[in-house]
């Protein structure tokens, strides 16, 4: 049997989400920012699976399927955008991508 309560899982999920959030705000490399976005998505799936298990319903786990599909599509499109950006500007550091600023 599982002696660990739901609140522990929710806390771990929030911790992972916060770490990903830090990464998105702090890092300057677009690829690492994407990895941190993935981390935030994984944290949300952990919360969904935990809720699904502790409430005895299947819906949360089924929703994880959709999140994974969206994440895969998002990564493909995002990396294609990064490649197109690199081809035009020869950099992927966010502080140098300021064409729209002025």
């Amino acid at each position: 049997m599982n002696p660990i309560g739901l609140n522990v899982y929710i806390l771990i999920s929030a911790l992972l989400f916060a770490i990903g959030f830090f990464g998105v705000l702090l890092r300057k490399n677009t690829l690492v920012i994407y990895m941190c976005l993935e981390l935030m998505l994984i944290a949300s799936t952990l919360a969904l699976v935990a809720f699904s298990r502790f409430n005895g319903t299947l819906d949360g786990s089924v929703f994880v399927f959709f999140i994974l599909t969206i994440a895969a599509a998002e990564v493909a499109v995002g990396l294609a955008i990064i490649v197109a950006l690199f081809r035009k500007r020869h950099t992927i550091a966010v502080e140098e991508l300021n064409t729209l600023k002025n």
């Binding site: 609140n7 770490i19 705000l25 702090l26 298990r53 005895g56 399927f65 994440a71 599509a73």
Partner: protein
């Protein structure tokens, strides 16, 4: 034994995530993302969702991280070029993260959250399939269509349009 495994997987998940953010090299960051994923998959197994753990590892380790590594190698950015963080950025993100953690912590103190898992049979592959093909049939179709659109979008984005690129200065 269960507790020990839980702590191990939690350590892997959170430690890997921390090193993704703290690492200078993008390739190492992708590898630590993989470590974090293995930890989360282990937590899924502890939540009796072995199928979810399998799908997570298959999609992320098999496709997403491999794609990340491929793009890192393709772009060939110089490693170790992490600049020091600005104080304002650190202050803002610490405040935001602390607020988020505080909110979730106060939520997790709520006594309405059950401390023991629901009794009853562990969901099997058959249950998942039944849900996906009855209740969630329309979302499955929409998600499939969205994958098709994403694939078309990627083809358009990464194709070289020589005519338009020659005109650009």
């Amino acid at each position: 034994m269960d507790n020990l495994l839980f702590y191990l997987f939690t350590f892997l998940a959170v430690g890997g995530a921390g090193l993704v953010v703290a690492n200078k090299n993008a390739v190492n960051a992708a590898m630590f993302l993989l470590v974090s994923l293995v930890g989360v998959a282990g937590l899924f197994v502890m939540l009796d969702a072995a199928l979810m753990a399998f799908v997570l590892l298959l999609v992320y380790a098999g496709a997403v991280v491999a794609l990340f590594l491929f793009i890192i190698m393709l772009l060939d950015t110089t490693p170790g070029s992490m600049k020091p963080f600005k104080p304002a950025t650190i202050a803002a993100s610490t405040l935001g993260g602390a607020l988020l953690l505080l909110g979730i912590y106060s939520l997790s103190k709520n006594t309405m959250l059950s401390s023991s898992p629901a009794t009853g049979a562990v969901p099997t592959l058959k249950n998942y399939a039944e849900q996906l093909f009855t209740t969630y049939l329309l979302p499955v179709q929409i998600v499939g269509f969205m994958l098709l659109i994403a694939m078309l979008g990627v083809i358009v984005l990464s194709k070289r349009f020589d005519v338009t690129e020659k005109k650009a200065p």
